[in-house]
């Protein structure tokens, strides 16, 4: 569970990263001076920023290098990434680092251990060893130089767990980790571990038949006993334990509709207390003080992460820092041991983000780097949030992005997200949205029923609502946006999405051909019955059951599934369609788009077909993005009146 203690720091970065996960380092194709689609999608220059325990030094990924230093010393590159991506950087004490690296060619994970020597203005780095194992760093054991606790993933009879080893980084030979004695003897059921102040394993968390299960180790014995088991239908995310090891703080919806903060007594795990539940939103994280007390929670409000402190004093301290960055929200992505030095990111819909190192007491912040500095001179668009009440009593949240140009009227692209269950759009910088807005299209995103972040009932309301309730929510939000924003041209609307969003675009134009002039789908589902047919799904009972719950039963509800599949409703498609699909898409097979394209072509309907050779379910590099948008933008330009652009 120590693994979870870091979550507060990294949640936001993950959230932000999800928006540019498709980026790559293929900068070569952008040789022109003018701003192109590549500028919106290419990888950020900075990632994975971590500060050392004293707050003196920072390490982070800059381009294809990992650097260490501070603004006074200048940053010293100590590792070059060749077709690799960094999973995590961890300080081991004041001056050593472990970098978890994923090799994109061999698909292997390695942990690289570096020693740093800071001598005056010089930084000398030495690569000490590599650990080639799939696992995670459980604890850096700062009191024991060159030693770490390391958990290695294991799978036996389809059950996953980890084994914990104490490694001496000066002695370990890359491939011989498993020869060291494991510390979790008689417990081969757990994935995550908690340590006491002496760094002994005390509690563990495993998933037995998908149910979160906590085990406790008997003192001075090897035996472990189960002290808690949750339900597989609810979330149970341990976040931290109190310093005296008596309380466990968990984000859970076992007792509530929304993901709330619960406090468990670790002695018996009975009668948890609800410390905080938001009336509208799931909690995303908790805030822990240097004294290891829970002092606040984080949730998304209007698509932006909001920090709620339980005490006014701590809230004010955060607010003072926030005030230094008007029109942006700040988020802590790293901190030193006493949290006096924090690494923050300042971000908004029209700012991809800038990372600062801040001394909290004197509110002194120095810029480390901007994520996409090449966009600093580009006028990006603002995003506002909309709230619409559905007939069923849900509040549907939408995000409207208007181009930054001052036109009286804009053509609109409705952009439903993928999923449909457990996925959401946010109010932060989104490369797709900003590129379309840069091309003078207004964009409407909708967190329809089934989206994540709004509680269990809201998520479950999206089950079996393909082409039905979900698209009602999209239409309702669209109608509201048109009424409340006269600058949106109601006669110039298209709809575009990927994955479920592609399906939604196709079904929306079938349901409402007068509203939408065209529809574009990337990697979209077009035949609901086909979703069950791949052998890996057909042979997996659990996956098939889940899919039936979300989509419907292809045996007993085949007629219904066909009724809500664009392929079988192709005759109702009256307006132009754009279909793009990767030939190596393992999640939604290219066959989906093939089926629809075949039917539409046979009926001489207007379909633009873009098979993308080797592309997967998402874009892997900027060349794919460029190919896609070089075809999509002309499609929109053709079908949305350019007079209003």
């Amino acid at each position: 569970m120590n693994k979870y203690l870091n979550v507060t720091k990294i949640t936001f970065f993950l959230l932000i990263l999800s928006h540019f996960a498709i980026a790559s380092d293929e900068d070569k194709i952008n040789t022109e001076q003018e701003t192109t689609v590549v500028d919106f999608f290419k990888a950020s220059v900075i990632a994975d920023v971590v500060v050392n325990p004293s707050g003196k030094y920072i390490a982070y990924v800059k381009g294809n290098k990992i650097v260490v230093g501070n603004n006074k010393l200048k940053f010293h590159p100590f590792y070059t990434l060749k077709a690799m991506s960094v999973q995590e950087i961890t300080w081991i004490g004041e001056s050593n680092l472990i970098v978890e690296v994923f090799d994109r060619i061999t698909k292997s994970i390695s942990f690289e251990y570096f020693k740093m020597e800071f001598e005056g203005e010089n930084i000398i780095s030495t690569h000490m060893t590599s650990i080639y194992q799939r696992g995670y760093l459980l604890d850096p054991l700062i009191e024991e130089p060159n030693k770490i606790l390391f958990a290695i993933y294991k799978t036996k009879k389809e059950k996953s767990y980890t084994n914990v080893f104490k490694l001496d980084l000066q002695e370990i030979i890359a491939h011989q980790v498993q020869s060291v004695k494991k510390l979790n003897r008689s417990n081969s059921k757990s994935m995550y571990w908690m340590l006491d102040s002496q760094k002994n394993l005390t509690y563990s968390l495993g998933y037995i038949e998908e149910k979160p299960t906590i085990y406790k180790k008997a003192k001075k014995k090897r035996t472990w006993s189960q002290i808690f088991q949750g339900s597989k239908d609810n979330s149970f995310i341990p976040k931290a334990i109190s310093k005296d090891e008596s309380k466990l703080w968990v984000l859970s919806n076992e007792l509530t509709d929304k993901l709330a903060l619960l406090e468990y007594n670790l002695n018996n795990m009975l009668n948890p207390k609800i410390l905080f539940e938001h009336d509208k939103f799931d909690l995303k994280d908790i805030i822990i003080s240097p004294e290891q007390e829970v002092i606040g929670v984080i949730f998304l409000e209007k698509g932006l992460l909001k920090y709620k402190y339980f005490s006014k004093k701590q809230g004010d301290s955060h607010q003072l820092l926030q005030n230094k960055f008007p029109n942006q929200t700040i988020h802590t992505i790293g901190a030193n041991k006493d949290q006096s030095v924090q690494v923050i990111i300042a971000v908004s819909a029209n700012n991809p983000g800038s990372v600062y190192k801040c001394h909290v007491k004197n509110l002194d912040c120095e810029l480390i780097d901007s994520l996409k500095p090449w966009l600093s001179d580009v006028k990006l668009s603002e995003t506002t949030s909309l709230q619409v009440e559905s007939e069923e009593g849900f509040t549907i949240e939408g995000f409207l992005t208007l181009p930054s140009s001052n036109k009286k009227s804009y053509p609109l692209i409705v952009m439903p997200h993928g999923g449909p269950i457990g996925v959401s759009d946010y109010g932060y910088f989104d490369s797709h949205v900003q590129w379309l807005a840069y091309n003078n299209y207004a964009i409407l995103q909708v967190n329809y029923r089934g989206s994540s972040g709004y509680g269990k009932k809201f998520e479950a309301a999206g089950f079996k609502q393909w082409g039905r309730g979900i698209e009602n929510d999209i239409d309702n939000t669209l109608n509201y946006a048109l009424k409340s924003h006269p600058q949106l041209d109601p006669k110039n609307i298209c709809i575009f999405g990927s994955s479920y969003g592609g399906y939604s675009a196709l079904m929306s134009i079938i349901r409402n051909p007068k509203m939408y002039k065209c529809a574009a789908s990337f990697a979209g589902v077009s035949d609901l019955t086909l979703m069950f047919n791949k052998s890996s799904i057909k042979n997996n009972d659990e996956l098939t059951t889940l899919l039936k719950k979300i989509v419907g039963d292809p045996d007993s509800e085949q007629a219904e599934l066909m009724e809500y599949s664009p392929v079988y409703q192709f005759q109702k498609i009256k307006n132009p369609i754009f279909l793009a699909h990767g030939t190596k898409d393992n999640r939604v097979d290219v066959e989906h788009s093939w089926r629809l394209k075949k039917m539409l072509s046979m009926a001489n309907k207007d379909v633009k077909w873009l098979p993308m050779d080797g592309t997967k379910h998402g874009f892997q590099n900027t060349l794919e993005v460029k190919t896609f948008y070089d075809n999509l933008i002309p499609f929109f330009d053709k079908h949305l009146k350019t007079t209003s652009k």
Binding site: T106, K107, S108, D527, T529, L530, F532, N533, K534, S535, S536, K538, N539, P554, D555, Q558, M562, V567, Y568, D589, V590, E591, W594, R595, K597, K598, M599, M602, A603
Partner: protein, 302 residues
């Protein structure tokens, strides 16, 4: 007699190679010695005559094979067109017959005019050409044989792709003593063919893996990668996809009915007309029936 005339028309339409092969002319290059000129002229004539001989023999064999076909003349032409384009008969004739003759005419010097060597090159070139004709003949023979089925046989559309290398890939009957078959090797390439199989259930099984000093198998027999063959029908069986990922490999069957139907329409229209296309992978998948019904409707204008 009537049939004979029609066949001639087909062949003229199909492969105008015969008309190219007018009487060989051979003007002596002034710098060549008399001896060399004589050798090259004789060899060129012989090479071209042999090329034509092989082609005529091929034509005559094909004529006999096609007699067995139940197809109408238009469909027979399609089969021939397919064979011709698949093995590129026109370009093969040019490559192995005309080009070699051109070499003899234009590129030989007194220094390179070695009779034995040139004869050996001619033989090699004609051997390649004959192999191409044989492959084309085999393709047509195989294709015509698919038109007749025993009572317990069905046609299986076998399709596979391998990302990375796969040696021979086995397809075995699940519970009965039916036909086994194997395809491959495939290396970042696809396999697409129609085969006769006894009715029953089949599964994709082992893949041969060649190591530097060893032979081993990746066994997917437990992965439940199955399909069914119905007698007297054209059975769609999905697409077997094998992917090598470093030390590991995975295999799955994907339902790609629209892709495969399109390929069948292009490559085997006659078989698609002759036999009912059924789904041997997912019996209750509605797509194939829906597509065929809609196609019929649109064709009839309803």
């Amino acid at each position: 007699m009537f049939l004979m005339i029609r066949w001639k028309i087909i062949f003229i339409l199909l492969i105008p190679i015969y008309s190219w092969s007018s009487t060989p002319y051979f003007l002596p290059k002034p710098e060549l010695s008399k001896k060399c000129h004589k050798v090259t002229k004789k060899l060129a004539t012989k090479h071209e005559e042999n090329g034509l001989l092989y082609f005529n023999q091929y034509q005559s064999k094909i004529k006999n094979i096609l007699k067995k076909s139940t197809a109408d003349q238009g469909s027979k032409q399609q089969i021939l067109n397919k064979a011709s384009s698949k093995y590129s008969l026109e370009s093969s004739f040019k490559k192995f017959v005309f080009d070699f003759v051109d070499v003899l005419k234009n590129d030989i010097t007194n220094e390179t005019c070695d009779r034995k060597n040139l004869e050996s090159l001619s033989e090699k070139s004609l051997k390649f050409y004959k192999e191409i004709l044989d492959r084309s003949k085999y393709y047509i023979e195989y294709r015509v044989e698919l038109e007749s089925l025993d009572a317990d046989e069905g046609l299986a559309i076998i399709s596979a792709y391998s990302y990375g290398y796969a040696g021979r890939i086995e397809i075995n009957p699940v519970k009965f003593m039916g036909d086994s078959m194997s395809i491959g090797p495939l290396n970042n390439s696809q396999y697409f063919r129609i085969a006769k199989l006894k009715a029953g259930e089949y599964q994709w099984g082992r893949i041969k893996v060649y190591g530097p000093m060893s032979l081993s198998y990746r066994d997917f027999s437990d992965a439940n990668l199955k399909f069914k063959i119905q007698p007297g029908k054209l059975n769609y069986t999905g697409v077997f996809i094998h992917e090598v990922m470093g030390m590991y490999a995975k295999a799955e069957i994907f339902d790609k009915a629209a892709v495969i139907t399109t390929m069948i329409e292009q490559d085997y229209p006659l078989l698609l007309n002759k036999y009912e296309l059924v789904n041997g992978l997912i019996e209750n998948d509605p797509f194939i029936n829906f597509y065929l019904t809609q196609k019929k409707k649109l064709k009839s204008g309803n």
